[in-house]
């Protein structure tokens, strides 16, 4: 969707656009709309001065006997001309300074930013007054002064955005290709910076209009031009207040508020659209609460976590998309289950839904998640919050970046302990934190250090310590070793496996690496396209894989015992949620697919105790 359409659909944006549209129309057609020409000199009698609003003068007259409504319409022209012209100057200066400072960096960049900072702290209005008083009160001078002094916020904004874009890989790639600075700026940097500048433009315009009104009100406007500030200035200085002529004061004041409000709304709407900072993080708010009265809860005594027929949907423009479609598996007490598959197959979504941490737009219209006899999908939010972390902990992908950089690691563990159990004293909790850090191999002595003093592997261990803080019964680890070095991966996985065994925790390990699962899990659940392709004990599935997808995945990973074996790739990519195949989800990529696979969805075939797979090949062979 184009940005202007999105702006129109944004509630604030639409109101703001309508408000500004009205002013624009009035300004352009002022000569046609205004009942009188305020610039024409007319014969004035005493009765015409500050005349009350009547049919002839809808908003009354001012001190010179001129029609207020007409002045108001003509005033819109000056305000908009000043606003747009001054904003253009400010943006040109600010944009150039910002881009150069951000892109070049170094001495030039910091020099430019010092100048910007200087202009930012100088009281703008005072400086404007002084300069205008010196250079003379013409409209052109006012525009120049406002423009030249109003570029600082733009410069800072553009610089920070340029800095971010400069670090991005595609800019680095362009540099590696051998592209010069100017082509990189034009082709790669500018398109990324412009949207934010657009949002900023609107705010700069509104500030410029406000500045012009202020200057005019203070008597520093162009005396030959009618602007809203000028109208206020004349009304105030020429006795409108003592004459009780509110109609000379209120309309220009309201007009200024109207325009500033309109631009601010459009600006905020644009900011909402372009600035991802405003967007909500996917872990902030939980959604997908579904009320059901009599949840039948299966009674199982050794099952730590049971996921039954779980369905997850995401809202989209074309209706709900099914990301997870009827997933069922159990995690026994103290058992570790590997959830594997390619990216986009629903592994993470399944576990996020199980803990009700789905991002906004995600919901869980079916299925149940049973933990200790409680159905988590219907549990009230505050009760669920108590379970989460204390009894069900999750280590997220890239979690090592989730530590608070300004607090010591020990403090953060203490906080995690005490949030859920405030009966513990601070010192007792600190003792426990030190124990945990010792347990994950960081050493108790480093509890007082900050995250930046830790390496990536140590931060990941610290996150594991944090997850273990309340001795959970189930721990969900989402790609806990991705982005770590091989040796550190081995260290962290070893640690997880050992601690899990020692503490008797159950674990769900989300990973795309079947090798890791073979070394650290008891059971494996292979997912594809939001459904389970195959599940069983690791021994069974690796020795006798039944689903073609499982077999191909096993062929795709290296085996150091057979280094000469060529790895295979699975051609194609997992299906997109809006283009799920009608039959078996894997059929389009399956080398063994036949007609039925493309039209019908296979059910689960039981292969052995706890080993099942969803493939027509199995049904056919069973029948024969």
């Amino acid at each position: 969707m184009s940005w202007y359409r999105r702006l129109w659909l944004h509630p604030l944006g639409r109101v703001g656009l309508v408000m500004l549209g009205v002013v624009l129309v009035v300004a352009i057609f002022a000569p046609l709309l205004a009942p009188y020409d305020p610039y024409a000199s007319a014969r004035v009698t005493v009765d015409d001065i500050y005349a009350r609003p009547t049919g002839a003068h809808l908003l009354g007259t001012d001190d010179a006997g001129k029609d207020v409504l007409s002045s108001l319409f003509y005033g819109a022209r000056v305000s908009l001309i000043v606003g747009f012209s001054a904003a253009t100057i400010a943006l040109l200066i600010g944009g150039t300074v910002g881009i150069i400072a951000g892109y070049r960096g170094g001495k030039l960049g910091s020099g430019l930013m010092r100048i910007t900072d200087f202009f930012l702290v100088v009281p703008e209005l005072a400086l404007q007054i002084v300069i205008v008083a010196i250079v003379g009160q013409s409209l052109r001078n006012i525009i120049l002064v406002i423009g030249v002094l109003g570029w600082t916020t733009t410069a800072r904004l553009v610089r920070s955005q340029t800095l971010t874009v400069r670090e991005r890989k595609f800019v680095e790639r362009a540099r590696a290709i051998g592209a010069g600075d100017l082509p990189i700026l034009i082709r790669h940097v500018l398109p990324q910076v412009l949207p934010l500048m657009l949002a900023n433009t609107v705010l700069v315009i509104s500030l410029a209009i406000l500045s012009e009104s202020t200057l005019a009100f203070l008597g520093l406007g162009d005396p030959t031009q009618i602007s809203w500030g000028q109208m206020l200035n004349f009304a105030f200085s020429r006795g409108a207040v003592s004459a009780g002529a509110w109609w000379a004061l209120v309309p220009p004041g309201l007009a200024i508020v109207w325009v500033v409000l309109g631009t601010t709304m459009v600006g905020n709407a644009l900011e909402d659209m372009f600035n991802p900072r405003v967007g909500r993080h996917h872990l902030e708010k939980e959604r997908g609460l579904r009320l059901r009265i009599d949840a039948p809860v299966p009674a199982a005594n050794n099952i730590a976590l049971s996921i039954r027929n779980l369905v997850v949907e995401f809202e989209s423009e074309s209706g709900p998309l099914t990301a997870v479609d009827g997933v069922s598996f159990d995690v026994a007490n103290g058992q570790s289950v590997g959830l594997v598959g390619e990216s986009g197959c629903g592994k993470t979504t399944t576990m996020l839904a199980a803990l009700r941490l789905l991002p906004p737009g995600g919901s869980c219209p079916g299925g149940e998640v049973v933990f200790d006899g409680i159905d988590l999908t219907t549990l009230p939010e505050d009760e669920l919050r108590e379970l989460r972390w204390t009894r069900l902990a999750m280590v997220f992908q890239g979690a090592m970046n989730a530590l608070n950089p300004v607090r010591t690691v020990g403090d953060q563990i203490v906080e995690a302990i005490r949030v859920h159990d405030n009966s513990q004293s601070r010192s007792a909790a600190m003792g426990r934190a030190r124990e945990l850090l010792e347990l994950v191999g960081i050493g108790a002595g480093r509890a007082d250090e900050f995250p930046h003093q830790f390496s990536g592997g140590m931060r990941q261990r610290a996150m594991i310590a944090l997850a273990l803080a309340c001795e959970p019964e189930v721990i969900v680890a989402d790609e806990p070793t991705t982005a770590l070095d091989v040796m550190i991966q081995a260290q962290v996985m070893n640690l997880l496996v050992e601690i899990r065994r020692r503490m008797g925790m159950a674990m769900v390990l989300i990973t795309h690496d079947l090798g890791v699962v073979a070394e650290s899990c008891d059971r494996v659940v292979v997912m594809y396209g939001g459904v389970i392709a195959e599940q069983g004990t690791v021994d069974e599935v690796y020795s006798h894989p039944q689903h073609p997808y499982t077999r191909l995945l096993l062929e795709a990973i290296p085996d150091m015992d057979r280094p000469e074996r060529a790895l295979i790739a699975i051609p194609g990519a997992p299906p997109r949620l809006d283009e799920l195949p009608p039959g078996c989800r894997f059929a389009p990529r399956c080398p063994q697919a036949f007609d039925r696979c493309h039209s019908e969805r296979p059910g689960m075939s039981i292969i052995g105790p706890g080993h099942e797979a969803s493939c027509f090949l199995l049904e056919e062979s069973v029948r024969v």
């Binding site: 890989k169 592997g457 090798g515 890791v516 020795s543 995945l553 790895l567």
Partner: protein, 330 residues
């Protein structure tokens, strides 16, 4: 074998370490980080070589030296007949045409606002390498097709977000290929991709070497997948190549204890075949404080007393296979 196109001779590269105010006040001397500390290897046209190691071992600095993005502190780096250490800016810019790069993250290394066609055509335009639009179109489409994006006309109009990770990496490769480089440096080319499609991208890089006679240098931490596709493997530790040899030799007959440890921690994809693993404790040490003697001895499971004082030289184990360890004999 033909003349090598990349010759690295005893190259070093150090970076001055930033001094904090505390360092200056306490008159602590300025220190250096020796990211690359005496690396030598050659690479021939049509050959794929993998440089393997953990982060901080100097593999990325080595890649940047070969790319000409960094100049060596000492030693020689010659690429395609040009000495990168002594070359001027114009010559370096010209050399850049002959050395192209494939980046790690195909999601980040493509400008989201450009079409696939424009992305692949960009190197041609930057270097004004084609005479007219028709020639540009022909070369872009040839590159796309070689990279497996067929039909090229259809893919050319798409934008990166319409492509899967594997396809995006193909676009990156097509863009690197379009200038017909002599050398391609691939930094972790598949680490961001799903296991299931890694093989096809690695096969494509292999095809570049064999069919286009390009020398491919792969930088990776993954000895099991990426290195397996190389003709030769160099294992780096703290700025030095500790073992170098034909891939199969290194995989089946690793001599350096560090290589052996790296191989032992690769997960075995079968629960019945668990092997003894050598998990080294700690992390790669700080390259500003390289231990005396053998740089690996503090973490080495088999170190002897001599390792603390003697910096081992390369020992030839078999033709083309060397290891820098005192315990290795010919």
């Amino acid at each position: 074998m033909s003349e090598p196109v990349v010759i690295v001779k005893n190259a070093t590269r150090s970076f001055p370490r930033h001094r904090t105010i505390g360092d200056i006040l306490t008159r602590r001397p300025a220190t250096e980080v020796k990211a690359v500390d005496g690396v030598s290897f050659t690479l021939s046209p049509g050959e794929v070589m993998a440089v393997v190691g953990e982060s901080g071992c100097g593999k990325t600095t080595t890649a940047n030296l070969v790319m000409g993005l960094l100049t060596p502190t000492s030693g020689e780096i010659e690429v395609d007949g040009l000495d990168l250490g002594g070359a001027n800016r114009a010559a370096l810019r010209e050399a850049r045409r002959r050395i192209q790069m494939v980046f790690q993250d195909p999601y980040e290394s493509l400008n989201p606002r450009m079409t696939v066609y424009d992305i692949v055509a960009e190197p041609l335009r930057v270097h004004k390498a084609t005479a007219n639009r028709a020639e540009e179109k022909m070369r872009v489409e040839q590159s796309l097709e070689f990279a497996g994006l067929r039909p090229a006309a259809r893919f050319g109009g798409l934008r990166p977000h319409e492509l899967s990770g594997g396809m995006r990496q193909r676009v990156v490769i097509a863009g690197a290929l379009v200038l017909e480089p002599a050398v391609l440096v691939a930094d972790e080319p598949v680490s961001m991709l799903d296991v299931s499609i890694r093989a096809e991208i690695l096969n494509l890089l292999g095809a570049l070497a064999t069919e286009k006679n390009i020398a491919v240098l792969m930088i990776t931490h993954d000895l099991s997948t990426v290195a397996a596709y190389a003709d030769r493997v160099a294992v780096m530790y703290l700025g030095r190549i500790v073992e170098l040899g034909p891939t199969l030799d290194v995989m089946t007959d690793a001599r350096h204890p560090y290589t052996q440890a790296l191989l032992s921690v690769v997960p075995v994809p079968h629960p019945d075949r668990r092997r003894p693993r050598v998990i080294l404790s700690g992390e790669t040490p700080d390259p500003s404080r390289i231990p005396p003697g053998c740089r690996f001895h503090p973490r080495c499971p088999v170190a002897v007393a001599a390792c603390e004082s003697t910096d081992p030289a390369d020992v030839q184990v078999s033709p083309g296979h060397t290891a820098a360890c005192l315990l290795v004999t010919e």
